[in-house]
Amino acid sequence: MTYDFQFDAVFASWDYLLDGAWLTVRLSFGAMAIGMVVAILCALGKTSGPKPVRWAINVYIEVIRNTPFLVQIFLIFFGLPTVGLRLSPDVAAMIAMVVNVGAYATEIIRAGIESIHKGQIEAGLALGLRPLQVFRYIVLKPALRTVYPALTSQFILLMLSSSVVSAISADELTSVANNIQSQTFRSFEIYIVVTGIYLVLALMFSALFAGIYRLAFAYTVDRR
C-alpha cells in the first residue's frame, strides 16, 4: 500500500462541506419545485395543446435530453451575458437545472397522463366539467401517482447531476470537495466522504418522497 489515509484534513473543512451540501439541497429542491410546474404545463401542452405548442415543446425536450448538461450550463452562464443577462452562478445553476429536469419530467408526466384510463376523462366530461377542469381535478393527481417512482428517481438524478454546476463556480458539494482537495490534496479521502454525503442525501430524498407519497397519494386503488 503506497497510500496513507489522512481524514483529519477533510474533517477540518467539515463546515465548508456542509455549506456545499446545503447548497446542493437548495438547488435540487428549488429546481425540482419549479421544474415540476414547468413539466406539468409542458406535459399538458404536449398532450392537448395546439400543434405549434406541441412542436415547440418537442424541440425543447429533444434538445435538452440529447445534449450534455455541462454544455447547457455553459451556454446559460456564459451565453446569456452576451444578450445582457448576467446571472450569479447559483441562479444560473438553478435555471439550468430547471430547464434540464423540466424536459425529463415532462416526458414522465406525459406518460402518466396517457396512462389515465379514457373512461376517467369521459366520466368528468359527462359530469359537465370543462377539459381544463378535467385535467386539474381528475387527471393530474392519478397521473402523478402512476409515475411517482419515475419522478422520484429523476429528482435524485437531478440532485446527483447538480455536481456538474461546479463548472460555473457554484459552490455546491462537489465544487467544495474539489476546492478542499486543491488545498489539502487529500482527494481520495474527500471523495470517499463526499460520496457518503451524496448517498445520505439520496436516502433522505427517498425517505422524503416516500413520506409525501404516503400523505398525498396513498389512496387504495385496488382492493386486493
Partner: protein, 247 residues
C-alpha cells in the same frame, strides 16, 4: 315537437373512418320514459348513447336534448352535459377522491354550489343508494356493486333530466348485480327518464317501457318488453334472444 320529448335523434349517422357505426338513427325519448337497448357486441349501442351527451360526435343528422340542438358546431355542449347523467360499465369513479368528494366535485366546479350544499346533496343521494356510511372511503376500498351505486349517486347529484346507462352491471360479480339493478329500479319508480344499454332481460321486462334492438348500427326493432320477448318481429332479434337466453 311535443313538449315532453327529452331526447330526439333524427337521421343520425356516424363513421369511424370508413366504418359506419350508426346508420340513420331515429329515436324519441319522452319525459319519464325508460328505454332498454340491447343487441350484439359491436352493434353500436354504446356509440348511440354516447352521442347523446356527445362523448362521441356524430357526423350527420340532428340530436336535440332538452330542446338544445347539438350541431356539429355547438357551444351548448356544456348545457347538455349538465342535464344528462351517465353511468359507465367500468364505474369510472375518481380513485383519488373519496366517495363524498366524487359526488361533490361536479356540483362544486360546474354548478358552483356552496360546499355545504354540495355535501348535503351528496349525502342525500348516497343515502338513496344506501351507502351513506361509505362516504369517506376511497373507491378502491369498495366492492364493484358499491362503486357502481356511488357512480349513480354521483350522477344524480347534478340533478339530471335524463340518465344514460352503458351496461352498468356487466362488470359486476353475480351477487352484486342485484343491488345495482335494485337501485336502478328505485330510480325508475321515481319517474327518472332513462336510457339503458343492458343484457339483463329481467330488468328490461320489469321496468322498461320500450326495448330497442340494435344490429350493425341500425335500430332493427322497437317494441314493448312483452312483445319483444314473446313475439320478436325480426329474425335477427330472434336469433340474438336465442343465444342470450339459452344457457
Amino acid at each position: 315537437m311535443s313538449a315532453d320529448v327529452v331526447i330526439r335523434m333524427e337521421g343520425v349517422q356516424k363513421w369511424y373512418d370508413q366504418f359506419q357505426v350508426l346508420k340513420d338513427i331515429d329515436l324519441e325519448v319522452h319525459r319519464g320514459e325508460r328505454i332498454v337497448i340491447c343487441g350484439p357486441s359491436g352493434s353500436g349501442k354504446s356509440t348511440l348513447i354516447r352521442c347523446i351527451n356527445q362523448l362521441e360526435r356524430h357526423q350527420k343528422g340532428r340530436i336535440t336534448v332538452n330542446g338544445v340542438e347539438l350541431g356539429p358546431h355547438h357551444r351548448q355542449l356544456d348545457m347538455v352535459r349538465r342535464e344528462v347523467g351517465m353511468v359507465f360499465q367500468s364505474f369510472n369513479l375518481f380513485p383519488h377522491l373519496t366517495v363524498l368528494e366524487n359526488c361533490m366535485l361536479a356540483p362544486l366546479k360546474v354548478r358552483g354550489t356552496t360546499k355545504a350544499e354540495a355535501k348535503a346533496t351528496a349525502m342525500r343521494y348516497l343515502e338513496r343508494v344506501r351507502i351513506p356510511e361509505q362516504a369517506d372511503k376511497y373507491p378502491g376500498q369498495l366492492s364493484g356493486g358499491q362503486q357502481q351505486r356511488v357512480a349513480i349517486a354521483r350522477s344524480l347529484c347534478m340533478n339530471p333530466k335524463v340518465m344514460l346507462f352503458d351496461e352498468p352491471t356487466s362488470a359486476l360479480d353475480p351477487e352484486m348485480v342485484k343491488e345495482v339493478l335494485d337501485t336502478m329500479i328505485g330510480l325508475a319508480e321515481d319517474g327518472m327518464t332513462m336510457l339503458c344499454v343492458t343484457h339483463e332481460m329481467g330488468f328490461a321486462k320489469s321496468v322498461a317501457h320500450r326495448v330497442i334492438f340494435m344490429d350493425r348500427g341500425e335500430i332493427v326493432e322497437q317494441n314493448t318488453p312483452e312483445e319483444f320477448f314473446t313475439a320478436p318481429k325480426s329474425e335477427r332479434t330472434r336469433s340474438f334472444l336465442g343465444q342470450i337466453l339459452t344457457h
